[in-house]
Symmetry: C2
Subunit: 220 residues, 2 copies
DNA sequence: ATTCACCAAACGGTATACCGTTTCAAGATC
DNA sequence: GATCTTGAAACGGTATACCGTTTGGTGAAT
């Protein structure tokens, strides 16, 4: 029996994709009601695929449901961010350790990502490529459930970072070069160090990433 | 705006509940096709709530979809179990550290769980209460996303353990007393030790739990 | 006996329709 | 002016129906 993690659904996939980008791009403000009927009318599809798309987006953490079953664009608080940060700090070092053997064999994807980052025109692309870099590591970990967890966290992080960026609360100075050099250090570690050392370095990397962001002054 | 993690859906919730128990109880064998029409007909509801229930069960890891969109009762391999084990080993020690302050204040739920475990009549109840014990800790961690992750992992673990139990591959001797004493040790730690020490002990606990299970001889 | 072509039944994706509930604002009451 | 009432519109939950695709077996061809 062939198994894939989810069914292929052109309409609902397309709907989810479109809503996802609108949410991440900030076209839809936090708290906006996503009524099935309205979205369906606008996109020219029925409510059924919209409904499925909303469920998918809930899983991504981009949408939340009220008690009455209404879907809203998710509002993220500093408290939410701290939760996400704890998860990163927990999962990513382990992923780095698991991925180390595979990445030692083939670090090409990581290196290509670094080259792309060094040429990225804008801060938003850098943060996007930064998340891509980490996703490559999660993929290389070989743990499908770990990767799935990362993806759901990633969407929420992208949402958080996008909102910070739009409200001009992300510091720009040196971001690209800092990102590139610290990613280069990680790649070197993958190629030459032990998995345990890679784990330790990844932990430091995530800790350092946290320092870049505006303080949220919330106890995790 | 009041937000809850998921919409309340009597029909679809009930359907999911029923299918979940049938899968966990082994009434439905791994690989069994769960056709929307058939399930709907049997339960006397329409396909819509069944569809939603199947999506929910996929998130629990109890159901997988084929490329053509058909839902099947999930088949778990030793490889899957290793993935789950790695996640436990990663998440639970962190949860223990985060939960330590709250559990030091109020360990009543844990202690009640231990009393119930010591009176549990059968092995299957013991393993169920064991998972409950850990879920209490995850709840006390205060990290909602961490708890959500644990719940999805928990369902898959329960599925795995249930299948082992039915195929008589779980050792029974001493399970209850071992579980009780090791949980008691954890509660003592929560009441008297530092969060960091609780984290370390939880890690040992999960490592020890792994030893109880039949070896799967698969590299994680 | 094996493989291939074919077809009918079954299934999933989606559209539409119905119904009870929730929502929210206009109007009534204090 | 603030609060409560109320009713129409909007919304979500669900049932039913239509359609193209997948599936699994039957019979033909080799």
């Amino acid at each position: 029996m062939e198994i894939s993690p989810s069914p292929s659904s052109p309409r609902s996939d397309h709907t989810a994709e479109l809503l996802r980008s609108r949410i991440l791009d900030g076209v839809l403000d936090p708290g906006t009601l996503l009524a099935e009927s309205a979205v369906a009318r606008e996109l020219g599809v029925s409510r059924v695929p919209v409904r499925e798309a909303l469920f998918a987006l809930e899983q991504d953490g981009l949408v939340a449901f009220s008690d009455s079953g209404r879907a809203y664009v998710k509002e993220l608080s500093p408290f939410d961010f701290e939760e996400l940060y704890v998860l990163r700090l927990t999962l990513e070092p382990v992923a780095a350790r698991l991925a180390a053997p595979a990445l030692r064999e083939n670090p090409l994807a990581l290196e290509a990502n670094i080259r792309a980052t060094s040429k990225a025109p804008a801060l938003l692309q850098v943060t996007q490529l930064d998340l891509d870099f980490h996703e490559i590591i999660l993929e290389a970990s070989g743990n499908r459930r770990l990767l799935k967890l990362w993806r759901s966290i990633r969407h929420e992080l992208a949402l958080w970072l996008g909102r910070l960026h739009r409200s001009k609360q992300l510091q720009t100075r040196g971001t690209r070069s800092e990102t590139v050099s610290s990613h280069e250090a990680l790649v070197t570690a993958f190629k030459t160090k032990s998995p345990a050392e890679c784990e330790r370095l990844m932990r430091q990397h995530v800790l350092g990433w946290r320092e870049w962001l505006p303080t949220t002054e919330v106890q995790p």
